[in-house]
Symmetry: C2
Subunit: 199 residues, 2 copies
């Protein structure tokens, strides 16, 4: 006997193919799914299908929403003169949690990455550029991840935006608050020294 | 804005309720499920429903199978005089991987646990006892986990089996092969000394 029974093996394979699910977790999940009540499994499957059918991209900022325009773009409370450009809807959540930023967002849904065959056309750059036509937008904050690809994407987009007369900024680099300098990598330390401020 | 859009939040909640899936993993899984092709999602859902409809307990050993009797119970190669009693179908896989044990199994699907409201009737003990009627079975190896509840379950079952004239044994306790004694807990070391053998 090489493994579990075929239909169970198939389910485990499918679960193990999900991101951050290893073989052992996939087994645990499969046994859990087998043990769930019919009602619970149906409601689980429904939630997948329901999310897939109702969630789509906001027609303005490309963030996920159930409506045509997301809550943030539709809100009258937000500062409409600044757009924070992020890679992923989860990054929007990260900024929202600070309760400090009150401007708008634009979600790229990825970064330019020739290695992974992602070109500028594959992410929501043209949607961003088309938002800059009005005079309302004064500044775009590039908040892509501080990785090589995030950096390159920020550079690429800033070159497209600058000719339009809109200010472009980039998140500050430096040591994270509460971190131990001993464990900071040299690139972060270099950036922290370069970006030092008078106190 | 407190969180993601409602249908997405609902999906994340459902995923986070699965075992060993935290909030962050649930988010990652939800985004992955949103990004999958319709075909891939349907095949994923099908594998859940298919496993749930075809997988059931072997009518002899209670292990999971797609047929009436599992491969191991149906095999003519196995030693039918010994039954290894385990808590979970995954434990069967663990023993099968050793390629050393060639007897039969019996899967309890749990352990007796008054704290979690699991009584002897809730696990497959009566199915085990009914297998011992024939003269064929000579020995039952109690291979429940080396935990308090696994131990208590092994004791409980051995008391039921002994009057039937079948030999009952328990897995050996001791230090795991390749382990560092420095990090072994005291209970394991005590059991390893108690169970020492002449060499």
């Amino acid at each position: 006997m090489a493994g579990f029974t075929p239909s169970l093996e198939n389910l485990i394979d499918k679960l193990a193919a999900l991101p951050s699910v290893g073989r052992k977790s996939a087994q645990r999940l499969a046994f859990h799914l087998l043990g769930m009540s019919d009602e619970a499994v149906n409601s689980f499957i429904e939630s997948i299908l329901n999310a897939r059918s109702s969630v789509h991209r906001c027609s303005i900022c490309c963030n996920f929403t159930d409506n045509d325009i997301c809550e943030i773009c539709a809100s009258k409370e937000r500062d409409k003169s600044v757009i924070c450009v992020v890679e992923d809807p989860r990054d929007v959540m990260a900024f929202e949690k600070t309760h400090e930023y009150s401007g708008l967002y634009h979600v790229l849904h990825g970064v330019i990455s020739p290695m992974n065959d992602v070109s500028p056309e594959d992410i929501c750059i043209k949607e961003l550029i088309s938002r800059l036509g009005s005079d309302e937008i004064k500044e775009v904050i590039m908040a892509t991840n501080p990785t090589v690809e995030g950096e390159a994407t920020a550079m690429y987009i800033s070159k497209l935006i600058k000719p339009l007369g809109v200010e472009v900024s980039r998140l500050a680099y430096g040591v994270p608050v509460g971190a131990d300098l001993e464990y900071a990598d040299e690139f972060t330390l270099i950036r922290a020294i370069e970006g030092r401020k008078n106190i």
